[in-house]
């Protein structure tokens, strides 16, 4: 018997939800392609879990529609939506053993006994827990429990898999292994998957695309790489990875797409940066520079357009790389990170140093 071919097409249309006066979701729209793994990323309270529960039917939206393969879901009760879900606390049925947990969804579909057993075993095989089928959930480790939950969620071959911070309760090493395992399985089953997480690394590791959310609105939607390298505003740049931010005043219009724009910081330092669409944003503009793009040197570098001088306040060893903090006379702090051997030898805390970066790594973004 062949596993289901492709996942469903999932569309979210102008979904709004308010609790009292607070808008949890403000007209959010999204399209998720069949077989795609999309991460909803944002700080707690941004509305990502609310959106996931609206997709699941655990919460009703005030307005808007959720479409699965073009079919409206909002009026359909949860148990008829044919989706699978993983929860942060696993949510295994404590009174049922592992195989009965996995078989639960199949039983709800009133399949013949033999088929239930067959498919439950197969799902358990997929997560490599066949040996544990008679155990009770409390006898398993956290990672094993979540894999049982995964087997339970895929056993009845849903069209859509919803993941609600599924790995948040695991410790770091286990989590990283599970991220890859989970992604591999979703891809193998070609499941349309929505992952809710507040962990940007997890989102980047697992997702095809990331939807960054803030205060009930979608801030940016794109591939992990696009979101990391081309954040649209200060919030996205700061939430995904870390960035050095410089207030920026420059010419308002300077031609071609991706052209560099000259400007100055309030401290008077000259600054060259690039704008995505060739113009400065309507509101305030900031320049964001990733720490890994900042280099340090003892003397003023000749080639670089952007260079600032200051004193090193901290040098931290972080294993694969080192992080150094430089404080300019104007009070601006600049964080640089580089492999340990890329730092100029002999630099110590308290020394004067130059920080410099290329213009193409200085991105003009909206200050919001």
């Amino acid at each position: 018997m062949k596993t289901r071919s492709a996942g469903a097409h999932l569309a979210i249309e102008a979904v709004t939800k308010t609790y009292g006066k607070a808008k949890a979701l403000d007209a959010v729209s999204l399209v998720i392609e069949p077989g795609e793994l999309l991460a909803l990323l944002g700080p707690s309270g941004c509305g990502k879990t609310t959106l996931l529960k609206i997709i699941a039917g655990l919460i009703d939206p005030d307005e808007g529609e959720v479409l699965v393969d073009g079919l409206g879901m909002v009026r359909l009760p949860t148990h008829r939506r044919d989706m699978g879900m993983l929860f942060q606390n696993y949510a295994l049925f404590p009174h049922l053993d592992v195989i009965s947990n996995v078989a639960f969804g199949l039983e709800m579909r009133r399949l013949p006994r033999a088929e239930i057993e067959e498919r439950a075993r197969r799902a358990l095989d997929r997560v490599q827990l066949s040996a544990y089928s008679g155990r009770m959930p409390r006898e398993l480790s956290g990672g094993q429990q979540q894999r049982v939950a995964l087997a339970r969620a895929i056993a009845y071959e849903p069209k859509i898999l919803l993941l609600d911070e599924p790995l948040a309760a695991l410790d770091k090493n286990l989590r990283e292994g599970m991220q890859m395992e989970l992604r591999a399985l979703c891809k193998q089953l070609e499941l349309t998957t929505v992952l809710v997480t507040h962990d940007q690394e997890e989102a980047m590791t697992m997702a095809d695309r990331i939807a960054v959310m803030r205060a009930g609105r979608l801030e940016q939607l794109g591939s992990a790489r696009a979101v990391y390298e081309r954040p649209e505003n200060r919030f996205v740049a700061g939430f995904i990875g870390t960035s050095n931010f410089f207030p920026f005043a420059g010419e308002r219009s300077t031609g071609a797409l991706g052209a560099t724009i000259p400007g100055r910081t309030p401290g008077g330092d000259a600054l060259l940066a690039i704008a995505r669409d060739g113009t400065l944003p309507e509101g305030g503009a900031m320049v964001a520079v990733r720490p890994e793009h900042v280099a340090l040197s003892v003397s003023r570098p000749a080639a670089e357009a952007n260079a600032m001088v200051g004193r090193l306040t901290q040098i931290l060893f972080r294993g694969a790389h080192m992080t150094a903090v430089l404080r300019t006379d104007g009070g601006q702090e600049i964080v640089a990170s580089a492999p340990a051997d890329a730092l100029p030898p002999g630099l110590a805390e308290g020394d004067a140093a130059w920080a410099h970066w290329k213009a193409e790594h200085a991105l003009i973004i909206e200050d919001k």
């Binding site: 699941a56 039917g57 655990l58 009760p77 949860t78 148990h79 008829r80 939506r81 044919d82 989706m83 699978g84 879900m85 929860f87 942060q88 606390n89 949510a91 295994l92 049925f93 404590p94 009174h95 053993d97 639960f104 969804g105 709800m108 579909r109 009770m136 959930p137 409390r138 939950a149 339970r152 969620a153 009845y156 919803l162």
Partner: protein
């Protein structure tokens, strides 16, 4: 020098000692004495005879009256427990969901407990009698003409017992249901279970520990009641407590009263054991060592 552990258990023992001593003297000793009295004395033609005897128990089981009343006591206790359980689930679910509604439900459910048992029984008697409020309402709403009287039947006792002992099952159930993570129910719904099946397959089995406590409390309290059967049962359907009272205070047959009282203790303890052990066996696999 005393080890720390020994000093600790000594201080602990000193702290619990007054309560233990008190209960040994004023609870355990009197009850044992009472049970003992039922086998060392009997009443013969109004005269007390001492000496080891099982006559009181032979009488309790050979005269159909006492046997029937014992059976009725068990039946009434079980019925009250089951009816309460059925009513308790929606209430417990409402309480477990919390919020203002849950709070209001809690308060209303607890109210009868704080109204004295005599007043409560009296209120029911005024409601259930032939010219009472219930029949008045039924007649005037045109629902029934000349409705039958519920007062002085076993039904009246059952209704009033459920009314007052309901909180003893609702609250443990609410605690058990409240302890179920909401995600468990959501997971069941995601897996395709409708509300009824979520209840039957998840809520019901997971509430078994609370249910067992509640059932045994309602059973014990109903079976040992005196006031409610006396006021609402009209002496037609006395429970064992009424007979104990009559033996001791009206007929002065202390040994036989003690024997009936001992039977009541055995009855209540054994049903408690059945309920609680049964629940423990059902849930052992998933609760044992929970919290580790």
């Amino acid at each position: 020098m005393m080890s720390r552990a020994r000093a600790d258990s000594l201080s602990g023992a000193l702290l619990v000692l007054p309560a233990i001593g008190f209960l040994l003297v004023f609870f355990l000793a009197p009850n044992l004495l009472l049970v003992g009295y039922s086998v060392i004395a009997r009443m013969e033609a109004g005269v007390m005879q001492y000496g080891l005897t099982f006559d009181n128990y032979v009488r309790a089981f050979s005269v159909d009256l006492y046997w029937l009343v014992l059976v009725r006591t068990v039946r009434m206790g079980l019925m009250a427990a089951l009816v309460s359980a059925a009513i308790a689930y929606p209430l417990a679910i409402a309480i477990a969901q919390g919020g203002l509604f849950g709070r209001v439900v809690t308060l209303v459910v607890v109210t009868p407990l704080l109204v004295n048992v005599v007043i409560r029984s009296y209120a029911w008697s005024q409601l259930l009698s032939r010219q009472g409020a219930l029949n008045w309402a039924l007649t005037n709403l045109g629902i029934a003409e000349n409705p039958p009287q519920l007062l002085y039947t076993e039904w009246a006792v059952l209704i009033a017992s459920v009314h007052v002992f309901l909180p003893f099952i609702v609250l443990p159930l609410a605690a058990a249901i409240g302890a179920i993570a909401p995600e468990i129910g959501q997971a069941a719904r995601m897996a395709g279970a409708n509300r009824v099946r979520v209840f039957l397959r998840v809520i019901l089995p997971l509430s078994v520990p609370g249910l067992a406590v509640g059932l045994s409390l309602v059973f014990s309290l109903t079976a040992a009641a005196y006031v409610t059967p006396q006021i609402l049962g009209g002496n037609f359907s006395p429970l064992i407590g009424t007979l104990i009272h009559q033996q001791v205070l009206a007929l002065n047959d202390w040994p036989f009263g003690a024997a009936l009282a001992s039977l009541l203790i055995v009855l209540v303890l054994s049903i408690n054991l059945v309920f609680l052990r049964g629940a423990e066996r059902l849930t052992r696999r998933w609760t044992a060592g929970a919290g580790n």
